[in-house]
Amino acid sequence: MADEPTREWSDEQLKSDDLPKKDVITFIQDNAAHSFLNEHKLLGNLKSVAKTAKKEQLIIAYNQLFESKRFKGTEPVEDVTEQIRTVKIEDKKELPAEVIDEGPPKFKKAVLKKGDKTNFPKKGENVSCWYTGSLEDGTVFDTNLPTTARKKKQSKPLSFKVGLGRVIRGWDEGILTMSKGETSRLEIEPEWAYGRKGLPDSKIPPNAKLFFEIELVAVD
């Protein structure tokens, strides 16, 4: 039988601006039963919950938690199975991450223009970029940069969720090291690009090292 969690904050402390919402949310998420969190709309990613929940709501929830004593582990089995049923199983688009350490990264980065050094993309976040890709001999095999500045206003940069294996590994790993506004030159070894097969339809030969100049325009 789990020990009941202790009340850390008084009402006055809760109302105070010194106590951030995130701390309260973290406490409740760590200690409350799943159904309690669901009812009080406190399920999910900390950042998202913090955005939507008001401080007053959190104070009420915090108090109710101790009144009802609906802590973790107090739910009957039926409730738990119901929760499992309601968890949505997304039709996965991403592969499970390979946690094999393959050695040193197979790309190099040279920063051409610094970014804001604050907004770094996280795995699964949406990024947008302009890019130009070339081969070792300088042949440009792909770019999404329009020819004129005017057309750039009319075009959209390439958008995708980074870090999920949707793009070549060199991009996934490389872009995670870039911050918003940064323009860099990535030199990617074939193992983290198109490998032994290459991509003949895109004029990329087998075992080709690829060079990308990427401008990270937006993060999420």
């Binding site: 294996g165 991509l199 339809d201």
Partner: protein, 596 residues
């Protein structure tokens, strides 16, 4: 043609009266005109045309004094004029000129209405001619509209495509060149028709100010493209090396999409999954055109990982392979082959098989292999199946083989899988040692291979392919005993082998007995029939006696029956000799083991 009696009356009506009516119309404002007036005007026009007097009608319309009449009531003439052009009547040129005049005189709204009316329910034989006649004028009129242009364009395109979908799509290059029903000409004309609207959308979108009308225009053009991908492009036979009409049409569609700011990668990879099957079919065709026919592929981003592309395409492949239409299946197979081709061998992990489409597509492929009557399709399918297997890593191959052995219930497919298993064991022995084909995990797989689920009731001839391939595998495993003995596999393998061979022997003896009896009965029957024939020839009896025998009736001639039975017995001999050889090897290995 209006009311016949009235028309007859009108014919007899004197010229003065007609002029009188016309004069009245000239002086009547539009609001005061009655439905009878419109009808009368239409009748006048029709009568002119049927009488071959197109020139007279044209003169009337172009007469400045009649401008008011034409402006108010001109649209009613659209129908008879278009029909006359379609039927290639006597005054073709005059009619075309008349139609042009109307498009410049009458109100665009009314014109659109009259023209669109003509796109409903066209007589099947006149579909292409009607559309070809209508299109340029419809374009002129739509470009003149100030409001709701996009909506009207949408209605027009929808109606036109609906009529065109009634025409059969050519499936050979000869058919396409002949273009018997005018389908290719129409789609060509449709491309020209949409050009100015695409240009307008291209200009407007991306500029800082877009109205809802601009958005609507883009939406209607997108609908047009998506419909075109389904019909006719999904059915069309397209080939890079032969830039036919429909190929050009496909190219136009692929170019239009980015022009109206529809990113192909967004459409193909990031569309909502819970879409209608029609939308999926359109996107499947899009994937085919892009990845297989490489239309506009050079402007497609070259940054996506091949495995991700395969994952996304698998849904489209699954959709196409589940169709019963040959053109869809062929496209599905081509897309499958292409998508797999870009992936490294032995790289796809087993986790992919949890995705619904990754499970479903090979099952559909299997159905193509077993059910499709066309040999070229089956041959391509087999190639794709092998490619599929080659791209999985060892664990995934193992799971795939188990799945196929459990679900296919088809000896041909099963034998192909068993052959692949043998290859994997060989690969494992020769260097790429892994637990899936050389360790503990091999046993459950062998259990599926070396089994006779129907026991003594097994139809050996039906299962022949699988059984022969299984025996080959068994022989191989015994020959390579040294590589297998070190693992726990060996003892269990021997147990499986003994049980399998025991049951197989039982089946062979039962089957052999049955077929031998059949053969004997057939031979007896032949003897009797020969004797009867001799008797009948010798005797002078007029009535032939018919002896009824207890032989099973068959559609085959006795000679063919004989052949079938003989070959069955030969098959059983073959199986038995292979079993014998296997037991021989097993004994040799046993002895050499004991000696060591």
């Amino acid at each position: 043609m209006g009311l016949p009696t009235r028309a007859d009356e009108t014919l007899i009506v004197a010229e003065d009266e007609v002029n009188g009516i016309i004069q009245r119309w000239r002086n009547t404002p539009e609001e005061k005109l009655k439905p009878e007036d419109y009808q009368q005007f239409k009748t006048f026009g029709s009568v002119c045309l049927t009488g071959g007097d197109g020139a007279q009608l044209l003169n009337f319309l172009q007469d400045e004094e009649n401008r008011g009449i034409v402006k108010s009531m001109g649209c009613v003439l659209m129908s008879p004029l278009v029909k006359e052009v379609v039927q290639k009547g006597k005054s073709l040129d005059h009619c075309q000129a008349a139609i042009t005049h109307l498009t410049m005189t009458c109100s665009p709204d009314e014109l659109v209405h009259s023209l669109l009316e003509l796109t409903e329910d066209i007589d099947p034989g006149a579909i292409s001619e009607t559309i070809l006649t209508l299109l340029p004028h419809l374009q002129t009129v739509l470009l003149q509209l100030q409001d709701s242009k996009a909506a009207r364009l949408g209605s027009a395109l929808g109606a036109l495509q609906q009529q065109l979908s009634r025409l059969p799509v050519p499936y050979s290059s000869q058919q396409e060149d002949e273009d018997e029903h005018g389908l290719c000409r129409c789609y060509n004309a449709l491309t020209n028709f949409t050009k100015p609207f695409v240009e307008e959308a291209k200009r407007k979108i991306g500029s800082s100010v877009t109205t809802s009308e601009d958005e609507e225009l883009r939406a209607e053009l997108l609908k047009f493209c998506m419909r075109s991908l389904r019909e006719p492009l999904l059915e069309a036979e397209l080939n890079r090396d032969r830039r036919s009409s429909l190929w050009l049409f496909a190219t136009e569609i692929m170019v239009t999409l980015p022009a109206i700011h529809e990113s192909l990668s967004e459409l193909l990879f990031f569309s909502p999954q819970k879409d209608s099957s029609e939308a999926k079919e359109s996107r499947a065709c899009l994937a085919y055109l892009l990845f297989v026919q490489l239309i506009t592929f050079d402007s497609f981003p070259a940054v996506f990982s091949p495995v991700f592309v395969l994952q996304c395409n698998m849904e489209y492949i699954d959709q196409l392979l589940s169709s019963k239409t040959e053109s869809h299946v062929l496209k599905g197979l081509a897309l499958y082959e292409k998508s797999l081709g870009n992936v490294q061998d032995n790289s796809l992990p087993v986790s992919l098989q949890d995705l619904k489409s990754f499970y479903s597509a090979p099952q559909n492929l299997r159905h193509v292999l077993t059910d499709c009557p066309m040999q070229n399709v089956r041959e391509t399918g087999l190639r794709v199946l092998q490619l599929c297997i080659d791209k999985f890593d060892s664990e995934a191959k193992h799971k795939f083989f188990r799945c196929m052995l459990k679900t296919s219930h088809h000896a041909g497919v099963e034998s192909y899988i068993v052959k692949n298993i043998r290859n994997q064991v060989e690969c494992s022995i020769k260097g790429n040692a892994n637990k899936w084909f050389l360790g503990e995990e091999l046993l459950p797989l062998l259990g599926l291979v070396l089994s006779l689920p129907q026991g003594a009731q097994t139809d050996l001839l039906n299962s022949m392919d699988k059984i022969m391939e299984s025996l080959n595998l068994l022989r191989y495993l015994l020959i390579r005993d040294t590589d297998l003995r070190s693992t726990i596999v060996w003892e269990k393998l021997c147990t499986i082998k003994d049980e399998y061979l025991k049951m197989l022997r039982v089946c062979i003896s039962i089957s052999r007995g049955y077929y031998a009896a059949e053969l004997k009965a057939l031979r007896q029957d032949q003897k009797i029939k020969a004797r009867e024939a001799r008797d009948a020839a010798r005797s002078s009896r007029l009535v032939k006696s018919i002896t009824v025998k207890k032989v099973k009736k068959s559609n085959m001639s006795p000679e063919v029956q004989h052949q079938v039975l003989q070959s069955a017995l030969v098959t059983f001999d073959l199986m038995e000799s292979l079993i014998f050889r296997i037991e021989e090897i097993a004994d040799e290995k046993q002895k050499s083991q004991q000696l060591n």
